[in-house]
């Protein structure tokens, strides 16, 4: 990777910087083994990797949602606008403009879509009218939500729920959204729709995104920069187009070999050595 492509070396300090953090669950399971990354203001940064690589853990370490899952950041630090945020509680963080949209949407099932959106504004001490205005703005991004505003979110489709989740985060007037697996379980068309909105928000509102995604193909199409995690470590990073053209990424994450995409039919099994373990 060339030095100029590294966002952390930009003249201004990055919006978010993670320095060599280690995360341990339950006091025993080491999930992140020293992860460093940076998100510059106004950019979309993708965090890529397989299941269990530590993407979600990284996001939760930033938003401080780990504590309730018996996880703990044991080393390293996280800075947002130059301020250490690793000991802040999530609510403080939201007030500072960092909001996470969790994997699997996590809408409040028994609340209507509009109520869901309203909860996003919980930390703000804005006037009713101001919040109303923001609500309308969210509806302009997601016209579909306006139509279904009174439906209980539990009864809406996956795509609508994902939109609700993002819209809910927007209600907090965030500067930075941590977006976890927005494409999971959604049809290709809906995935495109969601990513278009992400790009839109980034462009028009200047919201920065750190998005964890397995769908490397789509993610790299929309992101500016990408990090690839494997087994709790960053193994590769670079500008999106660089990653996209990297042979290894192509082969392992995009399923493309130089001779075009390999058919799943032709995937080979390499029989591994049998292991002895009771």
């Amino acid at each position: 990777m060339t030095a100029t492509a590294h966002p952390a070396t930009d003249a201004t300090a990055p919006l978010l910087a993670i320095n060599n953090i280690e995360v341990i669950y339950d006091h025993v399971i080491l999930v992140l083994k020293g992860v460093s990354l940076a998100v510059p203001e106004g950019k979309i940064v993708a965090l890529l990797g397989a299941n269990g690589a530590g993407k979600t853990t990284t996001l939760k370490a930033i938003s401080n949602l780990l504590a309730s899952e018996r996880g703990d950041v044991t080393k390293g630090g996280i800075e947002y606008r130059g301020e250490r945020i690793d000991r802040l509680n999530p609510s403080e963080l939201v007030k500072r403009g960092v909001v996470q949209v969790m994997e699997g949407r996590h809408c409040f099932q028994h609340l209507t879509i509009e109520e869901n959106l309203m909860t996003g504004a919980f930390t703000r001490s804005a006037s009713r009218a101001e919040i109303r205005q923001d609500l309308e703005k969210v509806y302009t991004y997601f016209p579909r939500l306006k139509v279904r505003r009174t439906s209980q979110s539990g009864y809406t489709s996956g795509g609508e729920q994902q939109m609700t989740a993002i819209g809910r985060a927007l209600m907090a007037k965030p500067r930075m959204i941590l977006l976890d697996e927005p494409s999971m379980g959604l049809a290709p068309q809906v995935v495109e729709e969601i990513f278009e909105i992400v790009r839109d928000l980034n462009g028009r509102e200047g919201v920065s995104f750190l998005l964890a995604e397995q769908n490397t193909m789509v993610a790299l199409r929309y992101a500016d920069y990408g990090y690839i995690l494997e087994n709790g470590r960053v193994v590769m990073e670079g500008a999106a187009e660089q990653l996209r053209s990297n042979e290894d990424v192509k082969e392992f994450y995009l399923g493309l070999s130089s001779a075009g995409r390999k058919s799943f039919r032709d995937a080979k099994h390499y029989r591994r050595r049998k292991r002895w373990l009771a």
């Binding site: 397989a50 299941n51 269990g52 392992f252 799943f264 995937a267 373990l277």
Partner: protein, 267 residues
């Protein structure tokens, strides 16, 4: 790339499962409307469609978890208006779930052993005493289960509680549990959701091997078009509970209704 065998006709047999005019509604909300399709012996049949199209509901109707309001299901010669899950299991229909439905508190071995449940006979007293026939039975089935464990390459985790395993391995264990029942028809609900390419390739291999080696018929729901197009013989496309396409992967890919509703232009 589309057809699997040079001569699919020789591999694929008669109709095994026939879904006829199935309609299903939940409290007035229609999930499925008049769906019909068939699955032939030894075939890999994919069901695709956008989220909420009713794919999982379709599987749930086939193995009796939901009972459709209308229509019937023919499976290997018998016709059912309402299948019940237990009967489906005895007739040789096995199933995996979209969100892993493993028994979290049990080890991999025990999870797969439950798949043999229907094949075990010992009575309660014999089980309590754990002597003679029950012991023999347990050991015999353990043997079978170990074969599956070998096949899926999960030997090293056989005594691990499934809750502690990574997602991809859990998916594999769930496949193993379904295979343990030695099913004729295997229903797979998004077996590759949330996997990376490497894991997907592994899973495809397992599915194809099962299909080849045991001759198991497979019905598969999958979002990854690459996978669907590569490994399935025929594809059903659902949208908002209606069938909008049915045919070989090539046919489906060329179907304008399918492109509009689902595949989108940019794929």
């Amino acid at each position: 790339m589309s057809a699997r065998d040079p001569e699919p006709g020789r591999r694929i047999g008669d109709t095994l499962l026939q879904v006829q005019h199935i309609s299903l509604a939940f409290g007035g909300v229609k999930a499925l409307t008049d769906i019909s399709f068939d699955v032939r012996e030894h075939e890999i049949r994919a069901i695709i469609g956008p989220n909420g199209a009713g794919k999982s509901s379709m599987l749930n109707c086939i193995n009796g978890v939901y009972s459709p309001q209308q229509g019937e299901i023919r499976f290997s010669g018998s016709t059912f208006r309402k299948m019940d899950p237990h009967k489906a299991a005895t007739m040789g229909i096995a199933r995996t779930f979209q969100n892993i439905a493993l028994f979290k508190g049990m080890s991999v071995l025990d999870n797969i052993m439950t798949g043999r449940n229907l094949k075990m006979r010992s009575n309660l007293l014999a089980q309590a005493l754990y002597i003679g026939p029950n012991r023999q039975e347990e050991l015999a089935h353990r043997e079978k289960v170990e074969q599956i464990i070998d096949f899926l390459q999960i030997e090293s985790v056989r005594k691990t509680p499934v809750g502690r395993l990574p997602y991809g391995v859990q998916k594999r264990v769930e496949l193993g549990r379904a295979l343990a029942a030695e099913p004729r028809l295997l229903l797979l609900d998004e077996p590759m959701a949330g996997m990376n390419i490497e894991e997907k390739q592994d899973m495809c291999r397992f599915i194809l091997d099962v299909n080849d080696e045991f001759g198991t018929t497979i019905v598969l729901i999958e979002h990854d078009m690459g996978v669907v197009m590569d490994i399935s013989d025929r594809v059903v496309v659902l949208d908002y509970g209606k069938k909008i396409g049915d045919g070989t992967p090539a046919e489906v890919r060329a179907n304008q209704a399918v492109i509009d509703a689902y595949l989108g232009v940019s794929h």
